[in-house]
């Protein structure tokens, strides 16, 4: 990774020096070595503080929305960031010429909490291999299965490499199939059990709206969930269901499966599971790819003249 990190700094420095971009979004050091944070390099020297390692967790696409208002933006993008950017582009929220995308392939981001628990001590560094992850602690270097180390969203990832990079650092990894197996377990539950399952999840919600703020599909100027006629401020179970169902419906057919909502949720609500359920239904009912590719015709966003109008009196299906 360090070679790629060096090239990233070099590109960012050049873009900033030549004035191609006003700011370059990447990652910089956090308070702990295994928790880097998003970093906005606004001058060429700041480019040297950019870092890129297995702990860079946050999605960067959504930051673009704010930053492009002031001028062109450069950023480093993994597969999930790339899909988020595609979403913003398809929604006409960002113009392609305002972006310079430095693509990198990603084999998965290490969850520091999970990794430290697996290793039994602080993990300073990691290497993500094919099926295993090597965790490096002050005392040892040991390999663990991916599921014991990576973020949940990375375990189901289907797009390691962004499709819209202006320049790609390193090798491209071909896209795979999205793993929707975890939806089956919920679908198999009897309805009352399923209700209790979701009630247990949603009642933990703090309504901090982090899921909305990080979501590249939630890019509206004004959110209907901020309007009291649609959603009251209370956090009773009815309001929680209303909030989460509305959020899920508003991204249905538009969710790019970047997993940011689930990663950002401080209450650990499996929002990705809900999104994946919609994705599976859309795939099975409308035959669209899972996840849906932004820019394609949206399965729930078109008027189809071939619809049989089955709901008409005397039509099919009455």
């Amino acid at each position: 990774m360090s070679d790629i990190q060096a090239r990233l700094r070099e590109i960012a420095r050049r873009l900033l020096t030549e004035g191609h971009v006003r700011v370059f979004i990447g990652f910089g050091p956090g308070f702990e070595a295994n928790r880097p944070v998003p970093f906005f390099a606004a001058d060429p020297d700041a480019a040297d503080r950019l870092l890129l390692d297995e702990f860079c967790a946050a999605g960067l696409a959504r930051y673009v929305l704010e930053e492009v208002r002031e001028g062109p933006v450069g950023l480093v993008a993994r597969g999930c960031d790339g899909l988020g950017l595609e979403r913003l582009l398809a929604d006409h929220r960002v113009a392609r010429e305002q972006l310079y995308v430095v693509g990198v392939s990603c084999r998965g981001v290490v969850d520091p909490d999970r990794a430290c628990a697996a290793a039994g001590e602080e993990v300073r560094a990691a290497r993500v291999n094919g099926e295993t992850v090597t965790l490096i602690t002050p005392t040892a270097e040991r390999s663990f299965p991916r599921s014991a180390c990576l973020l949940d969203k990375c375990l189901r990832c289907q797009d390691p490499t962004p499709r819209i990079a202006d320049v790609l650092l390193g090798e491209a990894i071909p896209p795979g199939e999205r793993d929707l197996a975890h939806v089956d377990a919920v679908e198999r539950m009897p309805s009352d059990e399923r209700y209790r399952f979701w009630a247990r999840q949603f009642e933990r919600c703090l309504r901090c709206l982090a899921c909305r703020q990080v979501c590249p599909a939630c890019n509206c100027v004004s959110c209907s969930l901020d309007r009291p006629e649609w959603l009251e401020r209370g956090t009773g179970l009815a309001e929680q269901f209303m909030f989460h169902f509305t959020r899920a419906y508003h991204v249905a057919g538009r969710c790019v499966a970047c997993g940011e909502c689930e990663r950002a949720c401080p209450a650990g609500i499996p929002l990705g599971l809900l999104n994946d359920k919609f994705m599976k239904d859309l795939r099975d009912l409308f035959g669209v790819a899972a996840p849906h590719r932004p820019g394609d015709v949206e399965p729930l966003g078109k008027f189809c003249p071939d619809d049989p109008e089955g709901w008409h009196e005397g039509g099919e299906g009455t």
Binding site: D91, H92, R93, N219, C220, V221, S222, C223, S224, R227, E229, W230, H250, V297, E298, L300, G301, K302, F303, P305, P308, E309, H312, G314, G315, E316
Partner: protein, 657 residues
């Protein structure tokens, strides 16, 4: 708080029989904002409307809720009544306590509770109402008629006779449509040509009808009063302005090909007209079969033409026209009976369809009007007619009755007997449907005077034996198996929509039924209108129908066009979508979901937002649903109003009053 009046209609027994209207009225009187509540036996009647008008004046009402039938029935009635009393007509709300309540419930108590809830919801909506102003649209007083058959010609004549310009577009090179292929017409047996050809000539020379034959509608934009239509004129490869219609080209053309007009039983030339009486009397070159287009040489037509009208270089031309109304009269097709293998159509030349039999009867047809069977030209001594081929057959996807076949089959049997006095006609039928003036009498004459043998039952198989066709079926009245050795078998195949009916419907944004026939706006009260304002239907494009019905409907469609043209400007419902630009994110998901292409882009400040053309918008609300941020609102059905309705319904605890 606005002052609201509630009027509860009994609709005779329709509502009052199941719903306790007195209790509903009492409950309404207690609802917040309601200052007047009354019930009446028929609110749509003049005294009922007067009740509304007086209440508005006496009680100084700001809004009225009428608990009555579906708004599609009488919303307009009650709005007019309110407007007459000086109230904004869009402050009238209908609580549908008939179709959505009394008609679908039996329990009086439960139905009453529900009726109160429905009234409560509409009262809640009425409280949040804004007065709306009707839209005013200019009108282009020029009509487009699509289809030059008997329906289109009738509509065009009626509109033109009233003093307006008409653009008549016909896909074929000549007028006449399906009727041009018919021999005689039931129940009078006058010859189709004798009725049709004077009419085609009349249409062609009418000073206010512009004829565009061999042309097709390619694009339709705009809205009622202001449609923009792109019409393509296909290349005829003959300059019709130069051509004098001498038809030397047709006479001398060395290339003979089967004629679809003659159901492939006769031949036509690669250049020429479909039939000698064609209007306009101008030839076209059939590019697919022309020797010059195939091999690059021949040009006999070029050499014989006295006016140098043949032009192999001719290209398609497209013109854009502005019209205020459109009549669709594109007619029907007959089902290709190939899918009915048991009848042997396509395999045996002496199994033909009814349209082919019309051509055999026609004096201008391939046999000069002598009924000869295709295989050997012999005059058939026994003919079997099979009805309901493809019609009334839900198993094969067409449950509907094609309506015209009973009558034309009776006509065929009679004409056959007239021409072959010692011949015998057999008719296999399911029922004989002869509803119409003089129709039943006609069928009786076919049976009694022409001696046609009617056998009630389906035919199981048709197969050849020697030079005849054996028809095996069941006579369900006697329960016996019947076998007829026929010289000719005629299939009364289903009337089906034109192959490209759905595509044209999409251009016009007109709905179709499951089969592809065009939907009328209301089967009883608005049978010639479509759901798209300014577009009307005439003839078999809507459903199978005979000539007299078609002509009547065409005149109906014309009168609707004339009513439209007689207005200074068109008044449109203001119930259209509107964008809150501060909320619009400019994602434009509203655009692909709009069936009417009513949404476009507008620059507001430094960004692009959606904007709605109120003339195009039909108020369907698809965009309002698609808009996640709630920037798109449907006037008269805003989120606030709908949510108020829902809340009023949800808050109901159950007991009426």
């Amino acid at each position: 708080m606005p002052r609201i009046g509630v009027v509860v209609c009994w609709c005779g027994h329709n509502i009052a029989g199941t719903v306790d209207v007195t209790q509903v009225t009492a409950a309404a009187a207690a609802m917040p904002g309601v200052v007047y509540a009354e019930d009446y036996k028929y609110v749509c009647s003049e005294p009922g409307q007067d009740l509304i008008r007086r209440a508005i004046a006496d009680k100084r009402l700001d809004a009225v809720v009428v608990a009555a039938c579906s708004p599609s029935m009488h919303e307009a009635t009650f709005r007019q009544a309110a407007a007459a009393a000086g109230l904004n007509p869009y402050r009238v709300e209908i609580a549908n306590v008939r179709e959505q309540c009394s008609w679908v419930h039996r329990d009086r108590e439960e139905a009453t509770v529900k009726a109160v809830a429905l009234v409560q919801a509409m009262v809640a909506k009425a409280r949040r109402e804004e007065p709306l102003e009707a839209l005013r649209l200019p009108v282009t007083r020029r009509a487009l008629v699509i289809g030059g058959g008997i329906a289109g010609m009738q509509a065009a004549m009626d509109i033109a006779d009233a003093g307006y310009q008409v653009l008549l577009v016909e896909r074929e090179p000549n007028l006449g449509g399906r009727m041009a292929q018919l021999s005689e017409t039931f129940p009078t047996l006058d010859c189709a040509s004798c009725i049709l050809t004077p009419r085609t000539a009349e249409v062609a020379r009418h000073p206010r009808i512009e004829l565009l034959t061999y042309s097709e509608v390619r694009e339709v934009a705009g809205y009622v009063g202001d449609f923009r239509v792109r019409i393509a004129r296909k290349p005829a490869y003959v300059d019709w302005d130069r051509c004098i219609g001498c038809m030397l080209c047709q006479e001398k053309c060395p290339r003979k090909v089967p004629s679809p007009f003659e159901r492939d039983m006769g031949f036509k030339k690669a250049i020429g007209v479909n039939f000698p009486q064609a209007v306009p009397n101008r030839p076209v070159i059939d590019r697919e079969h022309c020797t010059y287009f195939e091999k690059g040489k021949c040009q006999v037509c070029v050499r014989v033409c006295p006016v140098e009208a043949v032009d192999f270089e001719q290209r398609e031309t497209v013109r854009e026209e502005a019209v205020g109304a459109i009549v669709v009269a594109t007619g029907f097709d007959v089902l290709a009976p190939a899918e009915f293998g048991e009848y042997g159509y396509g395999r045996y030349p002496d199994v033909i369809d009814s349209l082919a039999f019309e051509r055999l009867n026609s004096s201008s047809g391939p046999t000069g009007g002598v009924i000869r069977r295709p295989s050997d030209g012999r005059v058939p001594r026994e003919v079997v007619f099979i009805q309901c081929v493809g019609s009334r057959d839900p198993d094969r996807g067409r449950g509907y009755c094609s309506k015209i076949c009973c009558m034309y089959t009776a006509k065929h049997a009679m004409l056959y007997r007239h021409k072959v006095p010692d011949g015998q006609a057999y008719v296999f039928y399911m029922d004989v449907r002869a509803g119409g003036k003089g129709y039943e009498e006609f069928v009786q004459r076919t049976v009694e005077q022409a001696g046609a043998l009617y056998l009630r039952g389906r035919v199981a198989r048709v197969y050849p034996e020697g030079d005849r066709m054996l028809v095996r079926g069941v006579d369900t009245l006697s329960g016996q198996t019947v076998e007829v050795a026929a010289d000719l078998v005629v299939l009364a195949t289903a009337a089906v929509p034109r192959g490209d009916a759905r595509e044209l419907a999409q251009l016009l944004k007109v709905g179709t039924d499951a089969h592809g026939f065009y939907n009328e706006a209301h089967p009883k009260l608005r049978p010639v209108e479509t759901m798209t304002r300014g577009i009307f239907l005439a003839g078999a494009v809507q459903a199978p129908r005979d000539i007299s019905e078609t002509v009547a409907q065409a005149s109906g469609a014309a009168s609707k066009v004339l009513a439209l043209f007689s207005q200074e400007e068109l008044v449109a419902d203001p119930l259209v979508a509107v964008v809150d630009e501060t909320r619009c994110a400019g994602c434009f998901l509203c655009r692909p979901v709009c069936p009417y292409q009513a949404i476009s882009t507008r620059v507001a400040g430094n960004r692009e937002v959606a904007t709605v053309n109120p003339g195009l918008c039909q108020g369907c609300g698809a965009c309002a649903v698609a808009c996640r941020s709630g920037a798109m609102a449907l006037k008269g059905f805003t989120d606030e109003q709908i949510l108020a309705e829902v809340e009023a319904l949800c808050l109901r605890t159950g007991s009426p009053g």
